[in-house]
Symmetry: D2
Subunit: 393 residues, 4 copies
């Protein structure tokens, strides 16, 4: 057991940190940011900078132009990226593209890769992942999937409504989860620019960091050729898991960076602001919040590192690795979503009036991070899943 990073990884960490500080943070007050995320113009500008810095889509395979980072390496780099709300967008490692790239590298055909994956990795397009449905469809419980895919010759006809589809507005293509007539779930690839795909609206949402926002999308008898099935027919739920375990973990990594940022802003304020005759931070009530932040950040980082190793070993074919990865990513997701939330909430409290206004980036992080306790499985679903496994073991 050791906690040291290799010199190469330390260098990559330092380089990413510098990139975020010098090239990304200056954009944080850029007006090209809407309630539904940065505009594609702003995104393109940021991506160009990451490309120049050699930090674009770092997790992708080398063949596709990435650095093929291990999970442990991603843990270090993505935390740095998350230090700015614009960092993951700039580096093209934001959700849902990051997870979509991961999944497509694993299961897409060569033709699909050329057509959809390559431009995505290059940062020239965006994608979306169309799984979640409004009640009574698939939310936390994916088995309630209602969107149907009916076989029709060498095509499928997809009909259904989705919501909370991150990045749909502006996406070049979608991965669509639908249920076959026999009940099995399957994933399909489809260009978004088709009349049978209607984006009803971008939903008002607490967070504002995802390019394209969160959309309500209807598939109205969408025809998809059988060759655009992603992976095997009927493997939809399994692929969702393949995608989800690492996707959950990269969320943890990025939000850890965001929480560290909030803490740093609060700490800096506590060093400078005076109240009741001393520095704010010298009041134990404030100092304790800073200490708790420090502990929570530390523990979230430890949990991420541990889980990353489990995922790396699973990728390397360790026996039982998939089950272990599943358990560990659940556990880590609960830990990180709750601890980073606590850190950000405390940081707001330390900042007082400044904390609940746009005076610092913390209010923005506060809004952006709250949904993480819900998406990719709410804490309650994960706790229940962990309990079942503990009881069985």
């Amino acid at each position: 057991m050791n906690f040291q990073l290799s010199p190469a990884l330390l260098e990559l960490q330092a380089r990413t940190r510098r990139f975020i500080a010098e090239q990304v943070i200056p954009y944080e007050r850029d007006p090209r940011q809407t309630d539904h995320g940065p505009t594609d113009a702003l995104r393109a500008e940021l991506i160009a900078r990451a490309r120049d810095a050699g930090l674009l889509t770092v997790h992708a395979s080398k063949a596709l132009g990435g650095l093929h980072l291990s999970h442990i390496e991603k843990a270090v780099v993505f935390e740095e990226a998350g230090y700015s709300p614009l960092g993951p967008v700039a580096m093209n490692i934001h959700a849902p593209d990051e997870g979509n790239i991961h999944l497509m590298e694993a299961v897409a055909t060569d033709a699909q890769k050329v057509r959809w994956l390559a431009p995505l990795v290059a940062g020239r397009t965006r994608s979306c992942f169309a799984m979640t449905e409004p009640a009574p469809g698939a939310g936390s419980d994916p088995s309630m999937l209602q969107t149907t895919a009916i076989r029709d010759g060498d095509h499928y006809r997809i009909t259904g409504s989705k919501w909370l589809i991150t990045g749909a507005e502006g996406a070049a293509f979608a991965i669509i989860m639908a249920r076959l007539e026999d009940g099995r779930a399957t994933m399909f690839l489809a260009d978004m620019a088709q009349p049978a795909i209607v984006i009803e609206r971008q939903m008002d949402s607490l967070d504002r960091c995802f390019a394209g926002g969160h959309c309500v999308v209807h598939f109205n008898d969408l025809r998809v050729p059988a060759s655009d099935v992603l992976g095997e027919v009927g493997e939809g739920f399994r692929y969702a898991q393949v995608r989800l375990a690492p996707a959950r973990l990269t969320h943890c990594m990025r939000w850890l960076g965001a929480a560290r940022r909030a803490h740093d802003v609060a700490l800096d304020y506590a060093r400078r602001r005076q109240a009741f005759g001393k520095r704010l931070g010298d009041h134990e009530g404030v100092g304790f919040m800073l200490a708790d932040n420090d502990m929570d950040l530390h523990l979230a980082r430890m949990a991420i590192g541990y889980c990353a190793e489990v995922l790396d070993r699973a990728d390397a074919g360790e026996e039982g690795g998939a089950a272990r990865a599943n358990f560990e990513s659940s556990r880590t997701k609960v830990i990180c979503s709750e601890k980073t939330w606590a850190v950000v909430d405390r940081s707001v409290q330390v900042l007082g009036g400044s904390g609940v206004t746009g005076e610092t980036v913390v209010e923005r992080i506060f809004r952006d991070i709250r949904p993480f306790r819900i998406y990719d499985g709410p804490s309650e679903v994960h706790r229940w899943s962990l309990a079942k496994k503990l009881l069985k073991a």
Copy 2:
């Protein structure tokens, strides 16, 4: 000791509840709501409805057209008003006007009442309370007040910068807190429409329920006649306390209503939404959150009722009443701000994806209520103040 409400109060409660449900909630999706609160046009329309319903500015004295409610009575009525984010605006009992009315009734001259208070109570104007300053000025620690008021013949010349001034944009007048040359704090009344008063900007803020938003305001050598001093010269800090104890409590009342609303929405959802083979609410993990909400709402309501009685008795001249009111309003503020927050956060969690979007009113309440743990004294300042009093007692 008893917990029953009088028939008259029950009737007023029911009437308010009906008013909010039938006349106010339908406006919640009215487009005339901005990031800095409802527009004055929307406000005027709502106020007309409250006037028709006999529910406008109910806390004001009968002479001024109100119902002269006791604190206990306000506890009941304001909770109902807070059930909609637009309720307090409609009934003209929102901050800071509600507290300003309370203070001016207590200390303004007849001439000041005619000029400024009467139209405010009638809902024809809005006001603001200009006390808080950016660092290194007066925030949680009012003794750090930096805005100066220099005597100049029969005038004062006021210079300084304020921020987080709720409702400044669109306010007819301000109550300004400034420090005399001898260090004593004094309150002044001044029309806002003067060149010496500059609203630099409306601050981006987490909450969006306050008409006029939160502003940065500069007083640039503002001349105020001595006759526009509010109350006695040098009594500024004392009046701030006079205003603050009940103002804190009315915040508790309104936010209790808001938290109850969030809980009701979540409860309704938990009754209808299915997941993993049963109703959402039948999952203990969700049911426990609902039970905790119920307990927290109950306790907040108890604490408010108790504090209201302490304030009523203080108003009636009970010996030691002011000190008791001060302690009790601190204690109640911490309790209510933390418990209502917990309720709203849990309600978001129960709602899942819907909870972090504009699909329900809960996301809006979530944003609006977070700052309450900070303004009117952050929890940390109150805990410290409570501790000092406990140690002394």
Copy 3:
């Protein structure tokens, strides 16, 4: 709504407070206290003092020599009694006798009252309530009751094992819950001094405040005449509820007193002890704990008062009163057991090394109070029960 106590109740409160301070607390280091509670000799001495002070078995009816206190009145008096671990024993209002008296007054025959109730109220005997069973029998879930009562002519033959039977050692009689052949539960009265009743052992337990401790008891074909059925045949579960709602609440009252005691000891220490250059209590980290204690005690007291009124109204025949009493006593039990626990745990922490030793009474209260989060329904069972009712309402 008002929170004032009548002059008569204030007088009774003051008298009880004085009695505890002057006559009971001096016994707290009396050696006649074992790991299984005070000895019967010590108990008799304390009871004699309460009798002289007119404070014995105050909740019993006047006919039986008590003061026939309402639930609201009990709330005030029992909190005072709980201020010393020996207070409830001295005043003969401890569990399980207090609840047994309540139940027997409601449903026992005159003959049963003369034989068993009168000496119990007079403090000359003790009793026990034999319901809980070891796995796989009735614990939190009373429907799992396994002890059987087989009708045999004009007798019943009772067989089964019970545990956690408080006060069994030394009790004159037991109320036994058993299941008839047709599955219905029934309560029986029986003298303990019979060969068919075997006390296997007094269990080691965290708490040490209950006279007689907690016992494992076996009923080996115990013959009970049909005339010793308590109340109606088949009404056992209903009576358990009749007994339980108020019994839960009196636990809340007594433990509130105990928690207030712990807080007072900690507060006193925080005023006197120096550390790191100032009074312990002047450290915010400690002061905040004291403030939290104060808030929790206040809220527990409010919840008890509210619930007491609900029970008083139910006793007065209010429509729906029983259901309301059931809900309210669940809610109050969770609130009080968790808040008093938090208070005592913080008091230990404030006291440091002294807190985890017998140097103060706080370590004793810490041990005694922990089980209250479990007995009379663990928090988890109550939360679940509350949730079900909220979902239904």
Copy 4:
């Protein structure tokens, strides 16, 4: 960064686990256990078994007969030892001897080692560490030290009172912290069997796992030769830190084992016990507690591992290592003491009535572990210390 243990360490872990399970746990109901810990006869018997198993005093240097474990290695082995309350006693790695051995190996003279350290390492004697004093002396704040050591020729004369001196009763010798005339603190070694050392009493205490209990000890003009100064004169506070950082961490390790035991007992019960129609653990309210336990144990283990590495690197002479070790052991102590406590408290709750009685070992662990949030620095002192360092950094 990796989280794998070496094969040799895995083997040692497995061997320790087996030893505890097979040789130590069977003694847990041995009657030779008092309110002040296991008797010395029981201890001798356990130590003989550890010696046979090659697991005695494993942290000591090889020269002295130990395995000279690194901190990382201790993390693994001591957690296993802590799985039984008797494990650390059996393996001679309990407090305060474990820390005393560590300190004496670092600073004692050869003569002192022969006389006092060798028999201690061999498990033939016990020792105590006499630093803590009753108010107004040195508690959390060591600078308040009042015990004096007056130079008198080639001797010192030590006078003062100590309390909470773990293991004093039955100890062969003490390390005594006293203050010289010039104010500097110094440590002294002294045999306990001297008339000038009086053990007033063994204190009643919540925990019962430490051999010899916690004692009040008086030094009445005790003469100590200058050659029995431990280390350098005037270095007392520095040595206390040398001793404390690793001693805090070994506490974390052992208590992690204890908490894991409590969790295992609760988990096993939740698998077997039925309530309300299903397995206890299948109730989400219970399952969530088990999941939280699992997460807390995991995080505590991660924190310990990380801190152990920091200490190992500091021991290896890393620049700034001592300061880092100090910070890290504070942070880890807060994390572990609070998380293990939460685990044990939840385990009690899962067990219900069995949890608060001696039916399982959990009640015992509950009592034993609570003081860990206080000794070696209460959480509040550590949070404050962490905050100061964060503010400075």
